[in-house]
Symmetry: C2
Subunit: 230 residues, 2 copies
Amino acid sequence: MTHTEKALVVLSGGQDSTTCLYWALQRFGAGNVEAVTFDYGQRHRIELDCAREIAARAGVYQTVLPIDTFAAIGGNALTDDSIEPEEGVRPDHDNTLPNTFVPGRNLVFLTFAAALAYTRGIRHLVTGVAQTDYSGYPDCRENTLKSLEVAIRLGMESRLEIHAPLMYLSKAETVYLARDCGALEALALSHTCYNGEQPPCGHCASCLLRAKGFAEAGLADPLVERFNGQ
Amino acid sequence: MTHTEKALVVLSGGQDSTTCLYWALQRFGAGNVEAVTFDYGQRHRIELDCAREIAARAGVYQTVLPIDTFAAIGGNALTDDSIEPEEGVRPDHDNTLPNTFVPGRNLVFLTFAAALAYTRGIRHLVTGVAQTDYSGYPDCRENTLKSLEVAIRLGMESRLEIHAPLMYLSKAETVYLARDCGALEALALSHTCYNGEQPPCGHCASCLLRAKGFAEAGLADPLVERFNGQ
């Protein structure tokens, strides 16, 4: 980078995006990083609280953008209270999409984030999506991101770069990255549980994946410690 | 097409999308066409009324989807009342973007339309964007649409096709197409004026382009006739 460049991090309040926020702070420098959080009618409002606390703790300017469109399209578990989310890790042979799938959710998040970045003169977008444990969400894969990057560059006449530093990391490697870029303590404020419980329920797909990552990394989860210690 | 396929038309209530609605009816057959209209905080609510009337006249099921995000991003003339839209046709040497540009607006429209189409089992998306008279909107160009189509196909694991039948037509050719697919009378209900006036103001960029097209085609504009005749 020839001069100071700025980055916008898509911050959901979860483990992965929190890790990415600190990755961006390390790479682009404090004062060059902003966050955007989407209020899209998610089932658990606690995610928004977590994202706000995490941005504040990191000293990062945060924009919260509403998206009322997904709820209007309807028919999915994350925004429709009439549909229960699936529990547990899905078996490998099940290649249907989980009912928490909002078609095109990440496409929309990244396009709105790019629009916000455009208006703020920011060229780098950082997202915590990962192909490794992508739970069947096809819009978390690198091919999707790469083609969307091209579409956004053409459609906005910008030189936008989408960074997905966790793309090919295992959950254990993501935990190591969090440790190495100083994100570990902030993870005590992050949210993961699909059931929206605090302390986390421990048995939904998200909780199991998170616990597995910390176990394989041989480190304690600061979020679990936070509640055990009380 | 081996069996009956369905199409979803992005219907803004303007001349081009109205023409596309009738193009789709001719190609996919009545009963196989739906419309989606976006309520994104546009300056002129009359567009929404026009779209509703046009869909009703065509006997087409219409979904109106809200998008509150653009207004939250702010800073553009179409959704921000504090900014006046530019008047007249922009000179050729001016390669800046007009201040009516909402970054990524069409990317978002098409991605949400694709999400709606996905939930309704529709594979074809029809949009009225045109490269010929694109007024500096880079997300109306074919390259943008093609790359977005790839991103959506990968991101939704779908076989979505985006059709832009007006892409390389001049405004006069679009008028001929409207005549040939039976859309001409419906154009009396359509809206074009950037200033939101009815009858149209006649001097904004959109009114001038529309008048030029009908003049070159040697046909009367049913919208103008509607008000002249009264």
